[in-house]
């Protein structure tokens, strides 16, 4: 399926400027695929950058070209929506390392024309942000009204404030963290091992093969999907109910609804995502620790970001990026002297709450973007 995925044409630009990466390697040129919504105003001051999560993409408010499903944040971005495209020029770029048109492991090697696979360098969240800044330079946008993101998108938003504090007026960080915890890394490692244990992975050289590591990628997605939901949500939605049967099979079919649901989620994911991209992006998240370059002092990361207005939101049922991680960021911002807002919202959906119907989040996003504009 990966070959079909890579046949989709995306709006993109190749910038012939070398990008030095945190890992020490240099990308000789950078291809960035992006979507935009709403008009850029005359003084180019109404641009809002939306950063997507691990398995997200640039199709924030338009139908997904592979699945035909509505954009992943169509409820948040659009005319009259909290991120109002009648007022803002909204840009969303596919992250570096991903599989929807930006430079990543499926990118052809300049010399051989064959996909790079595992020869693509390991990238970081800050590398993703540097690539986005290159796109904005190309688009002639020097300063953003806001950077907004949930989950890994929130990490990019924080990295934006740390790396280019003069280029954004406000930062909206939802259900995120300034570092990956041991638990976060552990879940990602399970996913990566599932992919690499799939014989069809073939050390990442599967792009021209008939078989691709869909089984491994599906298992990775199944494990990750559990972490996006709350126990309360799972119990309410599935409980111990059986799937299309009245009695247990005493076998290993998907007896339970939750099993059937996860298998479906895992399989459907392989239609729209590339296994190698999953390896690279999870690695980038695991390496993320904004405090690390500042001797473990997170406030050091925000020393130059005093003029950025931060808004942080966590959800009470999110155990993947719990409230304590957002509080840690707030404390660092306060000690750096930056203006910070923070609230823990109550929502039943776990980490995925940021993508779902939480009316209080809509009000917060609209308020955080509206102020001072």
């Amino acid at each position: 399926m990966a070959s079909l995925l890579h046949q989709i044409q995306h709006q993109n630009v190749t910038i012939q400027t070398p990008l030095p990466l945190d890992g020490g390697q240099i990308l000789p040129s950078v291809t960035i695929a992006w979507q935009s919504y709403g008009a850029l105003n005359a003084d180019r001051s109404n641009a809002v950058l939306v950063c997507h999560a691990l398995t997200g993409d640039q199709y924030v408010a338009s139908d997904h070209p592979a699945t035909g499903k509505p954009g992943w944040w169509a409820r948040m971005v659009g005319p009259g929506k909290p991120i109002d495209t009648d007022r803002f020029h909204v840009i969303c770029a596919n992250v570096l390392g991903s599989c929807m048109g930006s430079s990543g492991p499926a990118t052809p090697d300049a010399a051989t024309g064959a996909p790079l696979g595992m020869a693509f360098p390991v990238i970081t969240i800050t590398d993703m942000v540097r690539a986005q800044a290159m796109l904005l330079d190309h688009l002639g946008i020097s300063r953003l009204h806001a950077v907004v993101g949930g989950s890994m998108g929130g990490m990019q938003t924080l990295a934006w404030a740390a790396t280019y504090p003069e280029r954004l007026a406000s930062a909206l960080v939802i259900a995120s963290a300034a570092r990956h915890s041991a638990q976060n890394i552990a879940f990602h490692e399970v996913g990566r091992q599932a992919i690499m244990a799939d014989p069809d992975w073939q050390d990442g050289n599967y792009y021209d093969k008939f078989c691709t590591p869909t089984k491994g990628l599906a298992v990775a997605r199944m494990a990750a999907h559990i972490t996006y939901l709350s126990e309360e949500g799972l119990t309410e939605k599935f409980g111990r109910r059986l799937q299309a049967r009245d009695i247990k099979s005493f076998g290993f079919d998907a007896d339970f609804q939750i099993e059937s649901y996860l298998r479906h989620q895992g399989l459907a994911f392989t239609d729209r995502f590339d296994a190698n991209a999953y390896l690279y992006i999870t690695r980038a998240m695991d390496y993320f620790d904004l405090a690390e370059p500042h001797d473990g002092r997170l406030a050091g990361a925000f020393a130059a970001a005093r003029d950025v207005r931060f808004t942080l939101v966590s959800f009470d049922t999110d155990w993947l990026y719990p409230t304590s991680e957002s509080r840690r960021i707030v404390q660092a911002l306060q000690s750096a002297g930056a203006a910070a807002s923070f609230v823990e919202l109550s929502a039943p959906f776990g980490h995925d709450s940021f993508l779902l119907d939480v009316p209080a989040l809509d009000r917060l996003v609209a308020g955080a973007l509206g102020s001072g504009f």
């Binding site: 707030v330 306060q334 203006a339 910070a340 923070f342 609230v343 917060l364 955080a368 102020s371």
Partner: protein
């Protein structure tokens, strides 16, 4: 909507372009008024619905508890700290006042005076914990766990060596004289400062 009288006094007394932390800022009503006159106002509020409402109004508010989370602010982060109608709900009002004057050299502190004559009468005549306009909740469910009088507060400030720069006494939402404020003031606003 008109500001609550104690908030109007504070809003009036804060100089424009000051940096202010409003502790227990509610839905940001005072912050909106302060921003209107050029004050850089931030808030701390315990109730998430209030925090959401304040952020939706464009204010910078952190959800947190004045009993614990003032510790996260650096020394002298602000010019003024404001604690309106909240002192009597804190676990250790003395420590909270100390924190206010750590993060700012000056603080506004307002509270309902428990020695107001109506409160005294209710206790004297009925032998019951008073339920008044400013203290409207029965003793068993009131958030006001540390009732305080104007004299108590002055005594606390004296013990801690804190300077009183200005005091406003209110009765029925109107200013009342300082004379006999101990029993005539329904409500007091202190502007206090480090010595």
């Amino acid at each position: 909507m008109a500001l609550r009288p104690d908030l109007a006094i504070i809003a009036d007394a804060v100089p424009s372009s000051a940096r202010v932390l409003d502790v227990g800022c509610g839905d940001g009503e005072l912050m909106v008024a302060l921003r209107g006159k050029g004050v850089d106002a931030r808030g701390l509020e315990i109730d998430p619905a209030n925090v959401t409402a304040a952020i939706a109004r464009g204010q910078s508010v952190v959800q947190g508890d004045a009993n614990r989370d003032l510790a996260d602010y650096p020394d002298d982060a602000f010019d003024y700290a404001i604690l309106s109608q909240t002192l009597q709900t804190t676990e250790r009002p003395d420590r909270v006042v100390g924190e206010l004057l750590r993060i700012a050299p000056r603080a506004f502190v307002s509270f309902p005076n428990f020695a107001h004559w109506r409160v005294r009468l209710a206790l004297l005549w009925n032998g019951r914990m008073p339920v008044t306009r400013l203290l409207p909740v029965a003793w068993y469910e009131t958030p006001n766990i540390h009732h305080v009088t104007v004299r108590d507060f002055r005594e606390l400030l004296r013990e801690k060596g804190i300077k009183v720069e200005r005091v406003w006494h209110l009765s029925g939402d109107k200013p009342t004289s300082d004379a006999a404020a101990s029993w005539r003031a329904e409500h007091a606003i202190f502007l206090i400062a480090r010595t």
